[in-house]
Structure formats: C-alpha cells, structure tokens
C-alpha cells in the first residue's frame, strides 16, 4: 500500500509535507498481545529487556500495519531510576502495567534528581532498544515519550498530596515542577540523541476532569512550553481526559502537533484551531479496539467518523490496551489507510 514507507509518511506528516495516505500511529504505547506472543514472552517481561521491548514493538506494528513503533510501555522508569522499587506482577496472568507501590520521598523538598539518571534503573534499555529497532525495522519511525512534570510528580510522590498542595503550598509545587521540567528536558534530549524519530510530551494528569483550566494556564502551560522549546522537532503534546477547555492553550505550547483522546470533540477543536494545526486522535482504546461486542463494521465507522471530524492522523487516545480484538484493530488501521487518501486539514497529498 502506498509509495512511502511508514517512516517517510509519519516524518513528512509531522513537517506538514504532502503524503500518500493518512498514517495510523501514536505517541504512546502501541504494543499488542499478538506482537508479544510472537516474541514468545509474557506482558510482564517486555519492560525489562531491550531485545524483548524492541521486538514486541516491531511485531505489534508488522502484524497490525501500524505506521510506527513506540517505546517504552510503562510510566515508572524515571521513578525507578531515582530509587523506587517497582511491581512487575510477573506471576499474574493478566496484563498489569508496572507500578510504584511505595515512594521513598514523602515531601516535595526531598526530591533531587541525580545528574546521571540516564544510567540508572531500566533507562539504559532505551538506547539499546532504539538501536535494535533501527537495525531490524528501518522502515518504521521510532516514537519515544516523556511524562509531563505534573504527571511525573505523581509518580515520584503521592498525587493526592500534590493536588492539595497546588492551593496550599503553591510555591513548593512550582519548585518541584521546575526540577522535574529540567529532568524531562534532559531525558528528552537524550532520547533524541539516542535516535528516536519523534517525541511526545504526555501530561494526562492535568485534564479538565482533574485540574481547572485556570490552574493549567498558571502552573502547567508555562512548563510544557519550556520543555517543548528545549526539544528539537518533531515533538508532540498529548493530554488525555477532558481537553475541550484546554485545546487552544495546548496549541500555544509550541508543539508540532496535538493529540487527544475520545473525550475531545474533534470537530469543535478543529474549528477553534483552524486548518493549520496538526491535530491527531482519538480512537476509543477500549470500546473500539478491545470490546468483544464491537463489530468490524462499527470499528470502520468509528475511524471514518474520526477522519471526517478533521484529524490529520488517526491515533489511539491513549496507550493501546494490549488485549485487542485482532480483526477490529486491523480494520482500524486499514480504514485509516484507505479512507485517508484525501488531504486532511493541515496536510496535503502527493
């Protein structure tokens, strides 16, 4: 299908250059169970080994036709690297993402990010996995991501405490967010230097179902902008949850493209943003890709509806939930490629 490789397609799209057809890709996890099974291991084992991480990503893309690979899969790498233990749930048969059961820091003042964080915990796996993917699948663009400072704060300390401190100890929260902003800038630059092709800043903990748009503007937006300014292109900004009240502020953060989930009204967002902003989303990552009662026809309709609403690329609204229904997932990707031959608002066609 098409004249471009997935890598050319995605990188051209991110520069708003004409492409052959719309890509199906993401800034967040795209690993699915059939890909993991190909590698011959369990979900819990793809987080701790560079080769398994790389190969499960590649197989997921190849089997499904995704236009990218994205690593890593879990949100605990940085918190682990500063000295927290993680739970991997190696004995569970279910798909359980790694978590941090206890946090060593109790107060915001204690937080201190080691200069050599890239050499700690599982972070050194990432450059290795990138290298493997480049060799094994040069046709696929590699996406990496960093959590935004607020969400990352909730991985380093108790989120409850930080949420309350937003009002009660604003100054301390700002200092904490600044420290994490510096860390995120450095880690992003390091991932780019290690060879990732695009990077996504994802800040799910600040959607308007958690924080007020006013707090977003005061506390979050300046820091997201500082991070994105420090990274080179291509760079994306993703927020999941209720983003309708945030979308114009998101567009002021200097990302090359914005990505949102199913709670966003894409049609309205497109109106607010105009045709020039790269806007991507917003596949329902449970109802459409995982729910066994959803039919292939419904999956196809969902994708057409998203494209008609005015996206420039179809993207899952969050990490793909790995236990996909094979036919429905495949239908989502194929429909994007077939139905996406017409130009989208911000990107023309060859």
């Amino acid at each position: 299908m098409g004249e471009l490789t997935p890598k050319e397609r995605v990188l051209r799209l991110l520069r708003k250059e004409p492409i052959d057809t719309m890509p199906f890709f993401s800034g967040m996890g795209m690993v699915v169970m059939p890909g993991i099974e190909k590698v011959g291991c369990k979900f819990a084992q793809i987080h701790t080994d560079a080769s398994r991480m790389a190969m499960s990503a590649i197989w997921s893309s190849r089997l499904m036709g995704f236009d990218c690979v994205v690593i890593p899969y879990d949100m605990t790498m940085e918190s682990e690297a500063v000295g927290n233990e993680i739970s991997l749930y190696e004995n569970s048969e279910d798909i359980l993402y790694p978590t941090i059961p206890h946090k060593k820091w109790k107060t915001m003042e204690e937080v201190e990010i080691p200069k050599d964080i890239m050499e700690r915990g599982r972070l050194p796996l990432l450059p290795k996995a990138i290298k493997i993917i480049k060799e094994e699948a040069p046709e696929l663009p590699i996406g990496c991501w960093q959590l935004g400072p607020f969400t990352q704060a909730g991985q380093m300390l108790e989120l409850d405490m930080i949420l309350k401190a937003v009002f009660k100890e604003k100054k301390k929260v700002e200092e904490l967010l600044d420290k994490l902003t510096d860390m995120i800038i450095e880690l992003g630059k390091w991932l780019q230097a290690s060879g990732c092709d695009y990077i996504t800043l994802r800040e799910p903990g600040v959607a308007a179902d958690l924080l007020s748009p006013r707090t977003f503007k005061e506390l979050i937006q300046p820091r997201l902008t500082r991070i994105l300014d420090a990274w080179k292109s291509p760079k994306l900004l993703h927020i999941c949850g209720q983003t309708d009240p945030l979308i114009t502020m998101m567009a002021e953060c200097h990302a090359d493209g914005l990505t949102v989930d199913i709670k966003n009204n894409i049609k309205e967002s497109r109106k607010k943003l105009g045709p020039d902003v790269l806007l991507m989303g917003n596949v329902d990552t449970y109802k459409i890709t995982c729910d066994p009662s959803t039919t292939v026809e419904q999956a196809v309709e969902h994708i057409k509806w998203i494209i008609d609403n005015g996206v420039d690329a179809v993207m899952p609204g969050c990490d793909l939930w790995p236990a996909i229904v094979f036919e429905n997932m495949k239908a989502c990707v194929d429909t994007t490629h077939e139905y996406g031959r017409r130009p989208s608002p911000a990107v023309g066609r060859l």
């Binding site: 749930y89 359980l96 993402y97 978590t99 308007a208 924080l211 707090t215 939930w321």
Partner: protein, 224 residues
C-alpha cells in the same frame, strides 16, 4: 453563647471553603456545649460535602478542591465521632474497600471511602493495588456486610470478577459493590456484583439498598 445553628453553619461552610481550622474549632465548641455529635456530623459536615459534590458536578470545583474539603471534613469527624453515643450511631455496617490489584488509581476510591466514614460505617480500607485474595481474607476476618471494589482500568476491572467468585463461594451473604470509570451497571451485573454506583455521592445509599435486598432474599429462602 453560640447557637447550634451557628455551629452547624460554621461546620458546613468550613467544609465547603476547605477551612480545616474553622471546622476543628466549631466541632470542639459543639462538644463543649453538649450539642448532639451525630447531628453536627450529618447536618454540618455531610451537608457541606453535599454542596461540594454539586460544585464539582458544575465544574466550579476540581479534584484538588474536593480533596481539601475532604481533609476539612475528616478534621471535624475526628473530633465529633468519639462523642456519638453507641446506640445512636448504631454503627450502620462494615465495609471492606480497596482498588484492585494492578490499579494504583485511588482518588475516586478515597472519596467513596469518605462517604462511608461520614455515614458512620466502620471502614476497612485496604488501599490500592490490593491482591485479589486480600479482599476475601479481610471480609472473612471482619465479617463485613459489604465489600466495595474500585477499578479505573479495563483489565484491572476483570480482577473484580474473580474476587466476586471467591467471596460468593465462601460467603454468599456478602453484598459486593463495584465502581470506577470503566465499570457500568451492566458490567457490575455481568460480573455477579450486587450493586454499583457511578459516583461517591450515591455509593452509601446503594450499599444500604444492597444489604436490604440480600436480607430479604435470605428471609424468603429461609421461609421456603
């Protein structure tokens, strides 16, 4: 002398404006003056939380505000609760609550827990990322009438089904209630749960209804 009405108002507004100090002062004053503690809890603290719930629904309050209001409420509860006479409080019932294994989302669960606390239940909070067997063990240990589970993710939600099966095998008289964003009334029913509530606001009422239903069923069974 401060009237009861004035103190009720201070408690209520203290919760709404997340003013912990005001709530503590008013609660201590109420005890000093011998006003009924249960009434202060229900018509003061709980009434305030009800307004907070409305402000949240209307997007005037967001999660940080609600959490601060909850702190103010607990500050008052800690002072008033020991003064509620045993027979009056009639400790409504016991509930075991937690977020299921693999799930560290607990903000919603904590709000539900607070509602049970306010309503005078004895709450056994297992926290988050709770191993599935732990729910069963804790229920057996405490003989709680209700087990309430929270899940925010589609897969962790599946763990609930296993817990329901394990508990019902050992003890069919326990009422099990589910909640969390991916859970719906249909899912709860499909998993074999006895109840479901969409938000913290109606969790307690639903729990009481559930127990009543189960008792009724037992009685008809016993009669036959």
């Amino acid at each position: 002398m401060t009237t009861k009405e004035e103190l009720l108002k201070q408690l209520k507004e203290g919760v709404i404006n997340y003013n912990e100090e005001q709530v503590k002062e008013a609660a201590s004053k109420a005890i000093e003056l011998g006003y009924p503690a249960l009434e202060m809890i229900m018509d003061g603290l709980a009434a305030g939380m009800e307004v907070v719930g409305e402000l949240y629904e209307r997007n005037e309050y967001f999660v940080p505000e609600v959490l601060m209001c909850a702190d103010a409420l607990y500050a008052g509860l800690d002072i008033l609760r020991p003064h509620v006479p045993k027979q009056e409080s009639g400790v409504v019932a016991q509930v075991v609550i937690g977020s299921v294994q693999g799930d560290v989302h607990d903000i919603g669960k904590n709000l539900v827990k607070m509602m049970f606390d306010v309503a005078g239940w004895q709450v056994h909070d297992l926290g988050r990322d709770v191993p599935l067997e732990k729910f069963v063990e804790e229920q057996l240990r405490t003989d709680a009438e209700v087990v309430a589970m929270s899940a925010m993710m589609t897969t962790t939600m599946l763990g609930m089904k296993k817990v329901i099966k394990m508990i019902k095998e050992k003890n069919p008289n326990v009422a099990i209630m589910l909640g969390g964003a991916p859970v719906t009334k249909d899912v709860a029913k499909l998993f074999g749960a006895d109840g479901y509530a969409e938000s913290a606001g109606n969790a307690v009422q639903e729990a009481i209804k559930m127990i009543a239903r189960l008792r009724e069923m037992q009685q008809t069974k016993a009669a036959n």
